[in-house]
Amino acid sequence: MKVVVLTKQTFDTEAKITLDAQGKINPEGVSLIMNPYDEFAVEEALRIKEKTKGEVTVVSMGGPKAQDVLRQALAMGADRAVLITPELEEMDEYTTATILAKAVSRMEYDLILGGWRAIDDGSAQVAGRVAEILGLPVVNMVIKLEIAGGKVLATREIEGGSEVVEVPLPVVITAQKGLNEPRYPTMKGIMQAKKKPMEKLALSDLGLTAEEVAPKVRALKYFLPSPRAQGKIVPGEPAEAAAALVRLLREEAKVI
């Protein structure tokens, strides 16, 4: 079984967000990680590979730093990596999906996995768009995956519960927390990662032009939320404080 995993490098969840002089998100000094949902996707791909003797290719888009997440995936056990560096000024999910779909279309695959969303822009649409471009079905927010006889049984999260979806291969599956517990790279894995192939592609290598992938959505401006005013500590013994708090919530905050 050949599995392709779409991964993204994101800011660490503990990162503090600031704006730079141009009013854009300032990446300086922020530690970068593999999008946590993509880690579930990589782990699932590796488990499938271990069961079916398949091959796992990880794909990411970004600058040279994005190699770090690919290297991490290789150290976890993926077989090869593809990094696409499109060097575009403006991008949106349409751009990213168009490029990724083009890259994936050159590969052999039975299954495409990704995180259901990235924790940075959180838009949760790239994998779905890739499926649409490639003409594949998609199942999002999957917490359990079984593969047998050319079919996939995917349990996905829905509001207030879950549902089991049967879908034919090839398919795009996006991972939700709970799908698995991602492994840590082993020391041996880290040493082997360097020897595994990492293909680096520019937009032109995929036969695409900047116009073809021009974004549909454009950002006007970025801004930071206004900080919440520090509130008050309700004083007193627990019983006293509880009574006072309830009163404040009704009379002052008017939320009860």
Binding site: D68, Q72, Y184, P185, T186, M187, K188, I190, M191, A193
Partner: protein, 381 residues
């Protein structure tokens, strides 16, 4: 000069940091409190290959360099010094002498399971009257046919009780005037008849690290378990400690780094007189000094590891790294508690544990005073 780490070293740091923060840190306070280690952590470290970082793959290791090993110990110690010393003592003090001085058979039999983490290692050197004066060991080993008979005790043995394999330095020449030249190293397995554990030490810091007395009462060891040659015990012990110092220096560095990060974060959120305490120059300068000394310590530690990796002499540099990093750890952790004020003195915050943990790094594997003797000897020879 090149001060950048390789991609592998960077990835190793990130991996060990993730593991340390996710798996070890949440347990550190409780393990310290109960004086018990959670051995499921060992199994996870074994699976990741953290139990044999600097040894070749053919011996079950990861085939990484000593700098990678130092980084791993640093990152583990950053959240839990007991975990740092567990790996450090296992790797530097037991697996390494077997790797460096063992026969091929000994490496197959002992190094492979040690590096793979199937067994845990320890070094038995210190005795009640042979601390800094390690050449004065009295534990006797008397040849009897194809065996040696061991009698005596070792104290303050890190990983004692829990470890499966012990490198033990004993006196094979009863003539005490031969001093260190009369000593020999042996590999002793837990469970060997006549080998038992005495008292468990209750310590100020690294309380989740096991420190035991080893008792040998007519314990018979096959002669194949002699490590190196007869009379080489002290030489092996000293070479082991040269490398071990890098591990302890890395441990001290990690403790200092962890305490510094705690203090830095706290100084930004703790408000007094209507502003965060880091807005006071008195605190800000303290933080600047802490960061500077930590960085200086890091360069010394990494340099010592680099020299070892490049097969260059590193005895003096590893002593300097251990001396400096341990004193920085003590100083930084004391300041970190100070920055936390009254809260820092309580067990609600990890800095008091880190301060307790830091102290031992100035003492074990050669006190600061011994390190100065070692360094001075290099300068004056």
């Amino acid at each position: 000069m090149n001060f950048t780490l390789t991609e592998e070293q960077e990835l190793l740091r990130q991996t060990v940091r993730d593991f340390a923060e996710n798996e070890v840190a949440p347990k550190a306070a409780e393990m310290d409190e109960k004086e018990e280690y959670d051995w499921t952590l060992w199994d996870k470290m074994a699976e990741m290959g953290l139990t044999g970082i600097p040894f070749p793959e053919e011996y079950g290791g990861a085939g990484m360099d000593n700098l990678s090993y130092a980084i791993a110990v640093e990152e583990l110690s950053r959240v839990c010094a007991s975990t740092g010393v567990l790996i450090s003592a296992h790797t530097s003090l037991c697996s390494w002498p077997i790797y460096a001085f063992g026969t091929e058979e000994q490496k197959r039999k002992y190094l492979v399971p040690l590096a793979e983490g199937k067994k845990i290692g320890a070094l038995g050197l210190t005795e009640p009257s042979a601390g800094s004066d390690a050449g004065a060991v009295k534990l006797s080993a008397v040849r009897d046919g194809d065996e040696y008979v061991l009698n005596g005790t070792k104290i303050f043995i890190t990983n004692g009780g829990r470890a499966d394999v012990y490198v033990v330095v004993a006196r094979t020449d009863p003539d005490m005037s031969k001093k260190h030249r009369g000593t020999t190293a042996f590999i002793v397995e837990k469970g060997t008849p006549g080998f038992t554990f005495g008292k468990k030490e209750h310590k100020m810091g690294i309380r989740a690290s096991y420190t035991y007395e080893l008792v040998f009462d007519n314990c018979r060891i096959p002669k194949e378990n002699m490590l190196g040659k007869e009379g080489e015990g002290f030489k092996i012990a000293m070479a082991t400690l040269d490398g071990g110092r890098i591990g302890i220096a890395a441990q001290a560095l990690g403790i200092a780094q962890g305490a510094f990060e705690q203090a830095l974060a706290y100084s930004k959120v703790r408000e007094q007189f209507g502003r965060p305490i880091c807005a006071n120059q008195g605190i800000a300068w303290m933080l600047a000094d802490m960061a500077t000394r930590i960085e200086a310590a890091r360069l010394l530690v990494y340099q010592a590891a680099f020299l070892k990796d490049n097969k260059l002499p590193y005895g003096k540099e590893s002593a300097m790294a251990k001396l400096y990093a341990s004193e920085v750890a003590m100083w930084v952790t004391t300041k970190a508690v100070q920055i936390h004020g009254g809260y820092g003195y309580t067990r609600e915050y990890p800095v008091e544990r880190m301060m307790r943990d830091a102290k031992i790094t100035e003492i074990y594997e050669g006190t600061s005073e011994v390190q100065r003797i070692v360094i001075a000897n290099y300068l004056l020879k």
